[in-house]
């Protein structure tokens, strides 16, 4: 388990990659496993990445970032939003009207901003391999069809992150925090009227059984998204020889980032397909209806800009840059 002495051929560098989802989640089988295999291949077999799913190396998901910073594990895949306040700059990509509908473009944009240093202060103590988002929060409703923001007034909506809570508030609904596993029973019993989550969560939680409507804005438009990272312990990274670093970098470049966007889009498509097959109504709002949501959500961006000001961050500059880069990559 420790690096073999110099001269040993096979697997000189072993890494433990720790994450929170189960081994059958697409994030594990379609993203992390292929990425790890690519790194191993690039290194000519000198790197071995052992993946530990479902927090099998201990702790709770919010601890993943501490674990990689402290070297308890070498690599992690985690949800930025599980530790609110730790990644204020990257949060820009989670905002509605900044992230709209294209995970591929957003992935390329956020990694470009990471490389340029605009997000660097969020990631002290870790070396980011790549950042990504999921396909975006859609409105998954128990029994109320939502076509206008007014339809959401007074409803209880489950929230996963703080920016998502702001989205819910901006639409006149009440954000309710609860762990993901509590969501299906809460939906079934009407404790919450809906959740703003990606379609990709439908299969693992069987959301199709507890909801009637899957609603998204025009052109696969969503109400913001969630940021994720794959990161390595800084000291471990700094101690690697250049050719091994290159093996990691080559496996994580723009081509891969674009691929990650497609993987999450495909998982999302699979989820909504399952819901439709189960008899749920998949509603895509008209451009006019969608514009009403965009207008209602615009204050969320302003609220965020105002909030990060207290941390000495120029939020508006980040918003402008993120939008410009997303637009650039979407056009590719």
């Amino acid at each position: 388990l420790t690096p073999a002495p110099d001269g040993a051929r096979a697997q000189e560098f072993t890494f433990k990659l720790h994450h929170l989802l189960s081994a059958q989640a697409p994030a594990h089988s379609r993203m992390l496993v292929p990425w790890a295999e690519q790194v191993e291949e690039n290194s000519g077999g000198r790197v071995k990445i052992e993946i530990f799913p479902a927090m099998t190396l201990g702790g709770r998901p919010p601890e993943l970032i501490n674990q990689v910073r402290d070297g308890v594990v070498d690599l992690i895949w985690t949800v930025n939003g599980y530790t609110p306040g730790l990644f204020p700059r990257t949060e820009v990509f989670e905002l509605p009207n900044v992230f709209t509908n294209d995970p591929r473009a957003a992935d390329l944009a956020m990694n470009e901003m990471l490389a340029s240093g605009a997000l660097a202060d969020d990631y002290k103590g870790v070396e980011v391999m790549f950042l990504h988002v999921h396909a975006g929060q859609a409105m998954q409703m128990r029994d109320k069809l939502v076509r206008t923001p007014a339809d959401l007034a007074g409803l209880n909506i489950r929230t996963p992150t703080r920016t998502n809570a702001w989205v819910i508030e901006a639409l006149g609904a009440t954000p309710v925090a609860m762990p993901v596993p509590d969501l299906p029973p809460a939906l079934q019993k009407g404790v919450v009227d809906g959740a703003f989550i990606p379609f990709e969560i439908i299969p693992p939680l069987k959301i199709q059984d507890q909801t009637a409507y899957q609603v998204e804005l025009a052109d696969e438009g969503r109400l913001g998204t969630t940021a994720f990272q794959v990161s390595m312990n800084q000291a471990r990274w700094d101690g690697l020889p250049d050719d091994i670093k290159k093996a990691f970098r080559d496996a994580s470049g723009p081509e891969w980032q674009a691929r990650v966007g497609e993987i999450w889009r495909a998982a999302d498509d699979f989820g909504i397909g399952l819901a439709v097959k189960a008899g749920n109504e998949h509603v895509t709002l008209t451009p006019e209806e969608s514009a009403a949501f965009a207008a209602a959500l615009d204050p969320v961006v302003g609220r965020w800009v105002e909030e990060v000001k207290s941390k000495g961050i120029d939020g508006q500059a980040l918003v402008d840059e993120a939008r410009a880069l997303i637009e650039k990559h979407a056009a590719e």
Partner: protein
């Protein structure tokens, strides 16, 4: 007859062990009061939920409150011998040997308490430095740590009390005196 976990008649303690025992008992009760507070928040949230106004952040307050309370219970567990042991293999051991086992357990508890105190102090500094907050109420997570560090210090004290009380019996002196952790 039956006796209840954590509520046996405590050995007579005087001097510093008596004071320590009293402090540990009060600290455990403070943890219990905190647990009652968490109960109140959740009950209020249920009642509020019926009227469409659940308590915001009840989820994260529950996590934090129960964690702090659970740490406050640990010294009391040590002091009253509430931590489960299997006496099946040593049911016929002499009183001196039983005390020796208790002594070893107290040493492990003392070492663990001090180690965790040191490590969670470092953990608290991390939480402060990186600005960890809860999701809804933005409560700094490190606020939970000072009472936990007090709990761990008291756990060390409780382990020391067990150690001091088991030592004479383990050494074969003071037959019948003391009552180490079961």
């Amino acid at each position: 007859m039956t006796s209840e976990t954590g509520a046996e008649t405590p050995p007579r303690r005087a001097g510093w062990t008596g004071a320590a025992a009293r402090a540990i008992e009060l600290w455990a009760l403070a943890g219990g009061a905190l647990l009652l507070g968490v109960v109140a928040i959740n009950a209020a949230s249920v009642i509020g939920g019926v009227f469409g106004a659940p308590v915001p952040g009840d989820f994260e307050l529950t996590e934090m409150g129960v964690a702090v309370a659970a740490f406050a219970f640990l010294p009391w567990c040590q002091l009253t011998g509430a931590n489960v042991t299997a006496d099946i293999f040593t049911a016929r051991a002499s009183r001196a040997w039983t005390a020796r086992f208790a002594l070893a357990a107290a040493v492990v508890a003392l070492f663990f308490a001090l180690l965790l105190l040191w490590r969670m102090w470092a953990g608290m500094l991390d939480q402060r430095e990186y600005d960890y907050m809860t999701a809804i109420l933005s409560v700094p997570v490190w606020w939970a740590f000072p009472p936990i560090l007090v709990s761990l210090a008291l756990l060390a004290v409780a382990a020391l009390v067990s150690l001091v009380e088991a030592a004479p019996v383990a050494a074969g002196r003071a037959p019948g005196a003391g009552s180490g952790p079961a």
